[in-house]
Symmetry: C2
Subunit: 216 residues, 2 copies
DNA sequence: CTTTGTGAATATTTTCACAGCT
DNA sequence: AGCTGTGAAAATATTCACAAAG
């Protein structure tokens, strides 16, 4: 039921990647079927919640058995849209950009770094992996040519806003900002700030309340 | 009022870093006071929710005026525990590790990379920034010596679990896992998997359904 | 037996709306 | 005037618990 119709809560969509990762791990371990309880153990998400989440998109389970790992993974990929490859632009080919370009998590989900930009003349014309490095002035042209709508920004903080402006102007719709700079983008362009420090910060609170940290 | 006593919801703690970042930005712009509405515009979090969150820790605002930017920032730092410096260990000094070591977001919040480990003989004994690179076999000794309880893992995926095991054995309580490998840790050790791909994945859903993500 | 899918119950989060202070 | 802090309401999220199905 409810394969379409009512809006799917945002929280459900945010949990789908966790289910997908869990299922891909199980698939690698050659596990054929999985119960919601097993997935709960692996993801930390309540079993009933997992079942309820999945039912938003259809009845994928078999009563008394569980879910077929492979087919459920495929269904979630279809729901998210990661069953088809997606081209990404990467701006900044320094240490961070190089690490991102090599990151196998991207490829695992069908993301392909299709264009790289860096303003360092020593890097332009070279390749990172298989992808040629262009000057940022070519962002508009190259992104338009490839029809790219997602980008990762890994430039120095003071170049972040300018880079985002260029990407937005070129038609990019989703930007992952890896710099410490807070940036703004026009309506219709999603910016995600990937700041690990925030995670460290809030863990501090729990560390202290558990008296695991010297009071100082 | 409620300065401690009843448990503070986890969501509140998770939002505090957002408030802090926003306030630090305003401080840099020499803004003296800020209303919850202005903070709402800057963070995307509902103004009433911001006020309610802050009241968990005391009444910091002035009616008719707003919040004093500097003192509220200081209060949040105290609540989180980032008013005092914290030493971190970094394992892996490749591209990603180097980028992390240089990342100014860490220093901004008082985190100091106090120890670096890498198994590459060419890197051992050298420095990344001001910090000496050690062989991972010294993790236990160096971390014990510095009293380090937080660590960032930026090694190749196949070395991730081994590294986490070593860090946990050395007494580290918070681990930020930057690899694509899913790892486990003993009770009492928090592992945070920092996987940006999950964020890209769920944005795909909204891109495809051509819907704008609820204002943020 | 096992496990899904789901109505009902519970808990939590978010938002409104305004009294009261500056 | 402008804004916080907060009861009350609304909206969501989570969990329970079990009938139905393999």
């Amino acid at each position: 039921m409810a394969t379409k119709g009512s809006a799917v809560p945002e929280g459900v969509i945010e949990r789908l990647p966790a289910y997908l990762n869990c299922l891909m791990d199980l698939e690698e371990e050659r596990v054929a079927t999985v119960s919601s309880q097993r997935m709960s153990d692996l993801t930390g998400i309540n079993a009933a919640e997992i079942r309820r989440d999945l039912v938003h998109f259809g009845s994928f389970g078999i009563k008394g058995v569980g879910y077929d790992v492979k087919s459920l993974a495929g269904r979630i990929q279809k729901i998210l849209g990661s069953d088809k490859p997606h081209r990404i632009a990467l701006v900044g080919a320094g240490n961070l950009g190089s690490a991102i370009a090599k990151y196998d998590g991207l490829r695992k989900h069908g993301f392909e770094i299709a264009a790289i930009f860096d303003k360092d003349p020593a890097r332009i014309g070279k390749r990172l992996g298989a992808t040629l490095i262009h000057h940022p002035k070519e962002i508009d042209q190259v992104i338009g040519h490839h029809g790219i709508y997602m980008a990762i920004v890994a430039v120095p903080p003071d170049a972040a806003q300018r880079t985002v402006d260029q990407l937005a102007a070129a038609g990019v719709k989703v930007i992952l900002n890896y710099t410490s700079a807070r940036v703004t983008a026009p309506d219709g362009v999603q910016v995600h700030n990937s700041d690990p420090v925030n995670e460290l910060l809030y863990t501090l609170y729990y560390l202290r309340s558990r008296k695991q940290v010297p009071e100082g």
